[in-house]
């Protein structure tokens, strides 16, 4: 290949603007955000289906189960109302998880001191009780481990999906999953099968 042709193939050296290099790749959620901004209801529904499991995991890691669904809906309603304040449409996932964390914190701020959380008190010995026990054990871990484990074990997301939705690095997600799983085993008294 002649030298001149090779230079022309490089967009930065040829002087021609190339959207594929100068601008970041437009992800699917960014397209949805733009559609929502222009008033597309279906785009909002798609965005909800895409991110609801992630937001559910973030909220479930912090808040009693009965309150989770309402808070998840509030998160999306808040996002819909403030969608114009989102600067980078590619980072809608981290933005939504941040809203979810804030909403969960707000839930505990509004909670009166005398209010009891039934989920933490009742521990029936059936399968439902076991699930609640495991969830309680996951919640006892740090937020990073708890969120990642719930996304994996409750929502069935892979490490790659978790990374894409939350904006975390894939390595961080893998580490969180492995270490979180080890700590969960310890907490539940299970034998590690290494």
């Amino acid at each position: 290949m002649p030298e001149g042709e090779a230079v022309q193939d490089l967009p930065l050296l040829s002087g021609k603007p190339s959207s594929s290099i100068v601008q970041p790749e437009k992800r699917r959620e960014a397209v949805l955000v733009e559609s929502i901004r222009s008033g597309d209801e279906e785009a909002f529904a798609q965005l909800y289906r895409m991110f609801a499991p992630t937001i559910n995991a973030v909220v479930l890691a912090r808040v009693p189960r009965d309150e989770v669904q309402d808070i998840v809906q509030e998160v999306f309603i808040s996002a819909f109302r403030n969608i114009d304040s989102l600067k980078d449409a590619n980072s809608v996932g981290p933005w939504l998880t941040k809203i979810a964390r804030n909403r969960a914190a707000e839930f505990y701020r509004k909670l009166k001191p005398n209010d009891e959380l039934d989920e933490q008190i009742a521990r029936p010995a059936n399968r439902k009780g076991e699930a609640a026990e495991v969830l309680r054990a996951i919640r006892s871990l740090s937020d990073a481990y708890a969120e990642t484990l719930i996304m994996r074990l409750v929502e069935g997301m892979t490490a790659k999906e978790i990374s894409e939705r939350t904006g975390l690095k894939p390595e961080s997600v893998r580490v969180n999953l492995h270490r979180g799983m080890e700590k969960l085993r310890e907490s539940l008294g299970l034998n590690s099968r290494k």
Binding site: E41, F44, A45, Y48, R49, A52, P53, N56, L60, R65, V68, Q69, V72, Q73, F76, I77, F80, R81, R127, K128, E130, A131, V134, L135, I150, R152, L153, V154, E155, G156, T158, A159, K160, R174, L177, H178, M181, L190, S192, R193, K194
Partner: protein
């Protein structure tokens, strides 16, 4: 533990699968919220945003209305007071025919008599009116109580006033006569000297 299954869901891991199956009940059913709910929230938040403005506007309207009402009341009260003062400063009214109609027949002759007497003494009243105006108390009670009087009481009130007018006028005449006599006496004594 199968790390691939935990990370990529490849292969098998009984323990993780069991946990997945156990925790699946917490999985969300991704049904997006209805737009009507969002719209409702939107309206509610809009109202909440302008609630303070609405309240302030309402309060200011109330204040303006109260101030206007207060001013109007003040003006009307002052006007009434002026009218009442004017009424109280006018000479005692002559009994009219409507008042006569309300009186019993027995009293009518007395009223007629008083009327003629009243007219007869009119010039005396004119003389005394300036002094009366100064001395008579100006107040709402007089006007108000006059309005509540029955015809008989009103007649009696007029009679008493008339008697007082006549008495004061006669006293004045007497005083003038005494003054004149004194003056004549003084002059005569001076001329004698």
């Amino acid at each position: 533990m199968n790390g691939d299954y935990l990370i990529n869901k490849e292969g098998n891991d009984f323990e993780v699968e069991q946990l997945e199956s156990l925790l699946s009940e917490f999985r969300i059913d991704p049904v997006p919220p209805s737009m009507s709910r969002i719209g409702y929230q939107e309206q509610r938040s809009t109202f909440r945003r302008f609630k303070m403005s609405f309240a302030l506007g309402l309060v200011s309207i109330c204040v303006v209305l109260l101030a206007a009402g207060y001013l109007f009341m003040n003006v009307s009260i002052n006007r009434d007071a002026r009218e009442r003062a004017t009424l109280s400063l006018t000479p005692a009214p002559v009994l009219d025919n409507t008042a006569d109609a309300e009186l019993p027949d027995i009293r009518k002759d007395v009223v007629e008599q008083s009327k003629s007497q009243f007219r007869h003494e009119h010039h005396v009243r004119k003389l005394a009116s300036s002094r009366i105006k100064r001395s008579r108390p100006v107040g709402r009670e007089t006007a108000g109580s006059r309005q509540k009087l029955t015809p008989e009481e009103r007649y009696a009130y007029q009679q008493v006033k008339l008697a007082l007018f006549i008495a004061s006028t006669k006293i004045k005449i007497v005083q003038n006569t005494i003054d004149r006599v004194d003056e004549v006496n003084n002059r005569s004594s001076k001329s004698n000297r």
